[in-house]
């Protein structure tokens, strides 16, 4: 017998409304995701994996996958998406600090169509969006940071799939515009 409850049990407790279970889940997820993200960025990890795959990896390690229901899995990934946001933004900040210069967000400079976001700018825009409509921020966490399918997002939010798609599109449009026209906070 292990003294710590299994992740599956914590997940059940959290869904049952127990907040401490969620915190323990996050505590368990954070180092796992942090390690995975760091390895990925150092190219130790198979670098063709997307965020969704990375989270899936973490899930495989933490969760008894056979046992969980679709809803369990979706809720777990949703939680992991939020943790992933923190992890990635932390990594981005650390990287900038290490380089001692601010990586400017490059908009509209499409080389071969490749465009990347500056996660730090994105984070500040996300915080603003959260103040306007927190559900949209959650959608961004789940879709962009978590790579979740609209079907899974629908399971977690209780919204219909078309609504998820439409709202994700709204969030995306707002953010892309916000990044193109940043507000100088400082």
């Amino acid at each position: 017998m292990r003294s710590e409850p299994s992740t599956n049990i914590l997940l059940a407790e959290w869904q049952g409304g127990k907040h401490s279970a969620r915190d323990r889940l996050i505590a368990r997820l954070h180092p796992e995701l942090d390690q995975i993200a760091a390895a990925r960025l150092r190219r130790e990890h198979n670098s063709s994996l997307s965020t969704g795959d990375l989270i899936n990896d973490a899930m495989m390690q933490l969760l008894n996958v056979e046992g969980g229901s679709v809803a369990d899995r979706a809720h777990f990934v949703a939680l992991a998406s939020r943790v992933m946001r923190n992890v990635l933004v932390d990594h981005a900040r650390a990287k900038v600090a290490a380089k001692r210069r601010h990586a400017r967000v490059e908009l509209c400079t499409a080389i071969d169509g490749e465009q990347r976001f500056d996660l730090i700018q994105l984070e500040s825009a996300l915080i603003r969006l959260g103040a306007i409509d927190s559900q949209l921020t959650e959608l961004v966490e789940m879709r962009y940071f978590g790579g979740m399918t609209t079907a899974d997002v629908a399971v977690v939010t209780g919204l219909s799939e078309p609504t998820v798609k439409r709202r994700w599109r709204v969030a995306r449009a707002w953010l892309v515009d916000a990044l193109a026209n940043p507000i100088d906070d400082d």
């Binding site: 993200a37 990925r40 960025l41 190219r43 198979n46 670098s47 063709s48 994996l49 997307s50 965020t51 969704g52 795959d53 990375l54 679709v70 992933m84 946001r85 990635l88 990594h91 981005a92 990287k95 509209c108 499409a110 071969d112 169509g113 490749e114 465009q115 990347r116 976001f117 996660l119 603003r128 103040a131 306007i132 409509d133 949209l136 879709r143 962009y144 940071f145 978590g146 790579g147 979740m148 079907a151 078309p162 798609k165 439409r166 709202r167 994700w168 599109r169 709204v170 995306r172 449009a173 707002w174 953010l175 892309v176 515009d177 193109a180 026209n181 507000i183």
Partner: protein, 799 residues
């Protein structure tokens, strides 16, 4: 700082805007927020941002990574990756192999870098995949499969071409002018074949043309270039005017691709002209090739060659030392050449009717080509329009009655499309012509997309065609809403879109809005003539059915009742018209379904009996019409399902036997008609259930086996398309259950295992639907686990 209240309003407004038809958004916004410049500015900023596709699902890690070099995945779908054979701006190409039976199937797999294709483009590609897979031509690299890898990178599995890019090949092999002309004509032949299948390449460049060791031309990357047209996808491919567009190769891309104007076959003609110029650089005295290049690459699409065939004819003329049309303008020579080429194609189809139509059509192709002079534009429109009408309506219906005419119908539809596109490319078309073009596209979409024998079952094509119709409808709604025929045309487009979105695209909410909008457009003129009444009734039917799709049966029932009341209130002379009777029967069938689900068994039976009776009368009045036969089949089969679930086994048997008999006759008429085969499979599936209820097991098993055999045939016809496989797995699930009821557990398990293997294969290919994932697949595994190791009665009496 952010003004939170305004931002909230802007977000809400933008979200509602997404449900407004593309062409009507400006007007809608002006009405909603015209007096609020601050709000309007915010919404418009979001609309602009929406056109960029920068934020991709799950891309967070990649976005912070400067990763350049990625390890190839070990497997893609069913293929093992052997090695990387190339990489470019779009991504990498790998050699893949798959052991199938005794030999190894070698393919090229192109994995596109994440983020390069918009979600809308990926969606479009998935829609068109079947069309692309059916594009079989010796000079086009065959597309086998496509999908998304685990990390969301789109991939394409295609024929492996061991060759070099065109320009490199001709240099290395020291190919002279004659050889280059031959290569160019082969390229034209491939592009013309694609255009005939409604596919525009969009990015023809020398690097997309490979030449094999044996000197065989192979075009690659058909249909995957980004489209500049307005789209309605999730990512919002909207007008993009920047060079950031994917595979918009400067120097080859037609100018309209930069402006966001509709991209038609004319864009490929432009690229072919540029390619010709690179392949055979004209010397100072080469007036003819210069003229050909100039004609192919005119700024205005309508000034270019109207077809690839016409361009090829000119190149061939130049090669043969004949006069070139581009030098002197339209002339008899080109017409003769054109007729000559087409006569072969027409004769090969071996239908007298077709030959006749072919001859008629050719005269008009010539006419269209020759009389491009401005002052004759009116006449040109009228004649081309007349021929498009004949082809799409009268001739199509005529040919449709000939058994085994699937190919002929496809050819007619394609010819019709060429006219419509040619007309549509003319910016100066009068309003009545535009109305006609839009209605023509709708008709063509019905022909292409309608499931079963009435159409060609090409859903992707139907979507594209309706998109073109919608573009015209949107334009006229803004510029000439009250011109004669515009309102009716818009309603027609909307009603058809509603049907397509319901039956092909699985979007009931959108379908419902479109159906309601169609009704409101016609509200005051719904009974003015048969055409309007049909559109109006069809829109009500679609609205009702959209509720049924959402499993809102009482609402569906009420709408279908309204539809029946509308039709019942029409004058007798109208009600007797075929098109009205067809909608009435369909509406009653759906009304029966709604009653059945509510549930109200008595009302359901009444409605279904009436639906069957009307369909029987129609089928008797127009014997041999496949559309009517199909409708009768659907009504009979559904009535059997309802009888069965109400325990009326004998009546169920009677109804399903009649349905199967109809399907059988249809299959006899054309053994390659996938629509008819599908009906037979669906009929046999229900028949097996009914027979097993009646405990007539030997007959039930026979129905099961024939149903599965037909499903196999369908899978082969669809070349292993996931939809066909899924449908076969579904039949197997039901069929195994019939065996199980009969106590033949060994056969039940044999079939369930086959179904499970199909689901597993679909999962490997990334094509498992959500329903399969949560229902079909686990259910099969569960049945097998509980009663198949070894086969026994493990599920109890009622699996």
């Amino acid at each position: 700082m952010t003004d939170v209240p305004i931002e909230r309003q802007a977000l809400a407004l933008f979200e509602r805007l997404l449900d407004v038809a593309e062409g009507e958004r400006d007007a809608w916004l002006a009405a909603e927020a015209g007096d609020r410049p601050d709000l309007l500015a915010r919404v418009n900023a979001m609309r602009a941002a929406d056109r960029s596709e920068r934020m991709r699902t799950g891309a967070a890690v990649e976005d912070m990574d400067e990763g350049e070099d990625e390890d190839p995945p070990e497997r893609i779908g069913a293929y093992r990756i052997v090695e990387r054979i190339g990489r470019g701006g779009m991504g990498s190409v790998y050699l893949g192999e798959r052991a199938t039976g005794d030999f190894t199937h070698v393919v090229a797999i192109k994995i596109i870098k994440p983020g390069l294709l918009s979600e809308a483009l990926v969606e479009r590609f998935q829609r068109e995949r079947q069309t692309l897979a059916n594009l079989i031509h010796p000079n086009i690299a065959r597309l086998y499969d496509g999908g998304e890898t685990g990390d969301g990178s789109p991939f394409i599995v295609m024929e492996f071409v061991d060759g070099l890019p065109l320009l490199q090949w001709v240099e290395e092999h020291g190919i002279g002018r004659a050889g280059r002309q031959r290569l160019f004509l082969d390229i034209c032949g491939a592009v013309a074949a694609a255009h005939g299948s409604l596919i525009v390449h969009r990015d023809l460049t020398p690097s997309n043309v490979l030449v094999t060791r044996k000197g065989l031309v192979k075009l690659i990357d058909f249909g995957i270039a980004r489209e500049a047209e307005e789209g309605d996808g999730d990512g919002g491919t909207s007008r993009r005017g920047t060079t950031a567009s994917l595979s918009l190769t400067p120097g080859y891309a037609a100018p309209e691709r930069f402006t966001g104007a509709a991209v038609t076959t004319a864009a490929d003609i432009y690229s072919l002209g540029k390619l010709l110029e690179k392949l055979i650089p004209p010397g100072p005295a080469d007036d003819e090739v210069k003229a050909i290049v100039a004609q192919a690459t005119r700024q205005d699409p309508k000034d270019r060659y109207s077809t690839v065939e016409a361009l090829a004819a000119d190149v061939a003329a130049w090669r043969d030392g004949m006069p070139v049309a581009a030098v002197r303008g339209g002339r008899l020579y080109t017409v003769r050449k054109f007729v000559g080429r087409h006569r072969i194609a027409t004769a090969a189809s071996a239908f007298g009717v077709l030959l006749l139509i072919g001859a008629l059509a050719l005269a008009l192709v010539a006419n269209f080509r020759a009389q491009s002079a401005r002052q004759e534009a009116e006449q040109r429109f009228d004649q081309t329009r007349a021929i498009a009408r004949v082809l799409l309506f009268a001739a199509y219906d005529e040919v449709n009655r000939i058994p085994g005419s699937t190919r002929a119908r496809a050819m007619l539809a394609q010819t019709g499309l060429r006219y419509l596109d040619a007309l549509n490319a003319s910016a100066d078309a009068p309003i009545d012509v535009q109305v006609d073009i839009a209605n023509g596209y709708v008709r063509l979409a019905q022909v292409m997309g309608a499931a079963g024998s009435a159409g060609l079952g090409r859903f992707g094509d139907a979507n594209i065609l309706l998109g073109r119709a919608q573009a015209i409808a949107g334009r006229l709604a803004a510029t000439a809403p009250d011109a004669p025929g515009v309102r009716e045309m818009r309603a027609n487009v909307l009603a058809e879109q509603a049907g397509t979105n319901l039956y092909n695209n699985n979007d009931p909410a959108l379908a419902r809005r479109q159906a309601q909008e169609a009704q409101s457009l016609l509200r005051n003129v719904a009974t003015a003539n048969v055409g309007n009444a049909r559109t109006y009734a069809a829109a009500i039917q679609a609205e009702g059915d959209s509720h049924l799709w959402d499993e809102h049966y009482p609402q569906g029932r009420d709408v279908h009742l309204r539809g029946e009341a509308f039709i019942a209130g029409l004058p007798e002379t109208m009600r007797r018209q075929r098109e009205i009777a067809v909608v009435r029967a369909a509406n009653l069938r759906l009304l029966g379904e709604a009653y059945h689900r509510v549930p109200d068994p008595v009302a359901a039976r009444q409605a279904l009996d009436r639906a069957v009776a009307i369909n029987e009368a129609l089928a008797a009045q127009w014997p041999g019409d496949p559309g009517l036969q199909r409708a009768l089949f659907v009504a009979l089969r559904y009535r059997a399902v309802v009888h069965r679930s109400n325990g009326r086994d004998a009546l169920a048997r009677e109804s399903i036997d009649a349905a199967v008999a109809i399907a059988r006759i249809m299959v006899e008429r054309d053994r390659n008609d996938a629509g008819a085969l599908r009906l037979l499979a669906l009929g046999r599936e229900v028949q097996a259930q009914v027979l097993s209820d009646l405990r007539q097991f030997p007959a039930a098993y026979e129905a099961v086996e024939e149903g599965i055999t037909v499903q196999r045939q369908l899978v082969a016809l669809a070349e292993n398309a996931p939809g066909a496989l899924r449908s076969m797995a579904q039949s197997m699930r039901t069929g195994g259950t019939a065996y199980y009821y009969g106590g033949d557990y060994a056969n039940a398990c044999r079939i369930w295992r086959a179904a499970r293997d199909i689901f597993a294969d679909l999962e490997r290919r990334g094509s498992l639907t959500e329903v399969d994932r949560t229902r079909g697949y686990p259910e099969m595994r569960d049945y097998i686990r509980r009663s198949c190791e070894p086969p026994h009665a493990g599920l109890g009496p009622n699996p």
